[in-house]
């Protein structure tokens, strides 16, 4: 099912613009320009951007970077696993590009409340275009673990044009390391 297209309320635009700042920062580090912020009670509590080239770990997408910051912080302050899970269930993610299949599954496992994204990801999209993982949870409802059955609300198309033009200019400039082909670059 296609994700709902947002009517761009002002706070959504504001958070997405912060996410875009992180995407631009990734671009300056010669990474695929995708950025995100995580919001709790109307406040940004973490941010992240792509680090796949630097880490040589192609799973280090913006979403993974941002959620890892929170995990570390919450573990250090002694939260138990169920408290961490409670925390994630109050978090909303703003990311410039639709989460890929891996990240959509990860966000589902973390039990995040909602995801707002900029442009769609027509190659790897995990929130509608390729797979609709954010609403796939009914399949697993039979097993009875805590937190299961929580799908996240997913809204696309917020400040999408800016996210697209960032990715496009990244493709056009090409990869300085010459490792990636253009097709590989989409987050």
């Amino acid at each position: 099912m296609d994700p709902k297209i947002s009517e761009d309320s002002s706070s959504e635009i504001m958070f997405m613009e912060l996410a875009l700042d992180h995407a631009k920062e990734a671009m300056s580090r010669l990474e695929v320009p995708v950025g995100c912020v995580i919001v709790e009670d109307g406040k940004v509590i973490a941010s992240g951007s792509n680090r796949t080239n630097e880490t040589r770990n192609a799973t280090r997408h913006a979403e993974m970077e941002a959620t890892d910051i929170l995990l570390k912080q919450w573990q250090n302050s002694g939260l138990t696993q169920s408290e961490v899970s409670e925390k994630f269930s109050n978090c909303v993610l703003y990311v410039t590009c639709e989460p890929c299949i891996m990240c959509a599954a990860a966000l589902l496992f973390l039990g995040i409340r909602a995801v707002y994204y900029g442009c769609a990801n027509d190659k790897f999209g995990g929130c509608g275009l390729i797979l609709s993982l954010h609403e796939s949870n009914s399949k697993q409802a039979s097993s009875s673990a805590v937190g299961q059955g929580k799908n996240f609300k997913c809204t696309g198309g917020i400040v999408a044009s800016e996210a697209i033009s960032l990715l496009r200019s990244f493709y056009e400039q090409g990869n300085p390391n010459g490792i990636y082909s253009h097709n590989d670059l989409l987050h």
Binding site: E54, A58, Q75
Partner: protein, 413 residues
């Protein structure tokens, strides 16, 4: 007990659903032709309108009507054109030159995987079938020797799933192998719960197994790892019936939330610092990070190379001090420059995983460019390579791996 006593098997997990809802045929334009024109026309058509994705389909069909031989040839596929006025101009030219009368028909979309399927296909339009030299996604079937190595590697993984620190609990485990050098590049076990993230025994077991593995490669058919190799009970069939698989992260991706408070406290005391559990610390993601960290260590970024993209110095230092023994980079000992030998992500590597990976892990392996995946047990809850999804068949993805399931004969274990 030697491995040769076990009856194991390797089956290819296809990228296509066995019961296909999608169309299994492709529409094409064909035409009857004069037999004497066959050579000329086929040569032309193969240049103007090659049947790229239909290599198994024969260009010409020969039928015998009342003892008279009739030939038909495929002009082009219907994907190229809506109706026959829109056919590629070269094809139209041939049609008018030879006064052909194109008609619409269909051919099988996929190469046959069995003789029965092939016979069925040929009723539509003849295809070719090669049972002897059947290619599996570009990789030929396994020789006796290769199979033995594959079983050895899976044996190591099965050994890793059994964590002694957890009683009879088992976890998922993975190793990433370079099939050329038979070297273990990295390994990982589930780290989703604090109990799993701790435990020197587990780490000890890993190094022990790796060392055993190296020895076993030298002695060829020797066992990968000593001691009890198999998780207790029957893992492949009765996953839901026993409690001992609760900690297999890919089977229960939400089980990290249920961690008991007392278990966590005991870890806090033992370590005196922070715990290492991670809700997304599935064996596959752990193995990928270990492979990436090995790569950063063996092939450090050159100073002159795009300075902004390089790994911060502080980060490199911590990693090096963690692994005192592995200080000599392979690239240097081989006398090759790092640029010449540095692999791109996990290109060309294989991963062995006890349980079929979940969607997150399966997609992570696409990103990291793994070549082949071998798993032993299906994952009916969340498996993404056969059970729930079939990522290897998602055409839009930019990388595709081959997937194999290893069947274990548990009677002998």
């Amino acid at each position: 007990m030697g491995l040769q006593n076990l009856q194991w098997g390797i089956i290819h997990v296809s990228d296509k659903q066995p019961s296909r809802d999608e169309p299994t045929t492709v529409d094409v334009f064909a035409s009857k032709i004069e037999p004497k024109l066959a050579n000329t026309l086929v040569r032309h058509l193969c240049q103007i309108a090659p049947l790229e994705d239909l290599r198994h389909v024969k260009r010409v069909r020969k039928t015998s009507v009342g003892g008279k031989i009739e030939l038909s040839v495929i002009l082009c596929t219907v994907i190229d054109c809506e109706n026959h006025e829109d056919m590629p101009s070269g094809v139209l030219e041939i049609v008018s030159t030879y006064q052909l009368r194109p008609y619409l028909t269909n051919v099988s979309k996929f190469a046959a995987s069995s003789r029965e399927e092939w016979e069925e296909q040929c009723k539509l339009w003849p295809t070719s079938y090669h049972p002897q030299t059947q290619i599996i996604d570009g990789i030929t079937e396994f020789s006796e020797e290769d199979s033995q190595l594959i079983f050895n590697h899976m044996n190591i993984v099965i050994g890793l799933t059994k964590m002694r620190c957890l009683g009879n609990q088992v976890v998922n485990a993975a190793i990433i192998m370079d099939p050329v050098t038979q070297q273990i590049i990295a390994s990982g076990t589930d780290q989703t719960c604090s109990l799993l993230a701790d435990g020197k025994q587990c780490n000890w077991e890993l190094t022990h197994c790796s060392r055993q593995a190296e020895i076993s490669f030298e002695f060829n058919h020797a066992l990968g790892c000593s001691g009890d190799l198999f998780p207790e009970g029957s893992c492949s069939e009765s996953i839901e019936n026993t409690g001992s698989y609760n900690h297999v992260s890919c089977l229960n991706p939400w089980s990290w939330m249920e961690q008991k408070a007392h278990a966590q406290n005991s870890i806090m005391v033992d370590n005196g610092s922070t715990t290492k559990w991670h809700p997304l610390g599935h064996a596959t993601l752990v193995a990928i990070e270990n492979a990436a960290s090995r790569d950063r260590r063996l092939y450090p970024v050159e100073q002159l190379e795009t300075s902004i993209a390089r790994v911060p110095v502080k980060r490199q230092k911590t990693q090096n001090s963690d692994d005192e023994e592995e200080h000599t980079p392979e690239a240097v000992t081989n006398g090759l420059t790092p640029e010449a030998t540095r692999p791109y992500l996990c290109t060309g590597y294989d991963i062995y995983i006890a349980w079929e990976p979940c969607t997150m892990c399966a997609m992570a392996l696409v990103h990291q460019r793994i070549r082949r995946i071998f798993y032993a047990f299906p994952n009916p809850n969340a498996g993404a390579l056969n059970s729930i999804h079939r990522l290897q068949g998602e055409k839009s993805l930019n990388h595709h791996y081959s997937v194999f399931r290893i069947l274990l004969d548990e009677k002998n274990s």
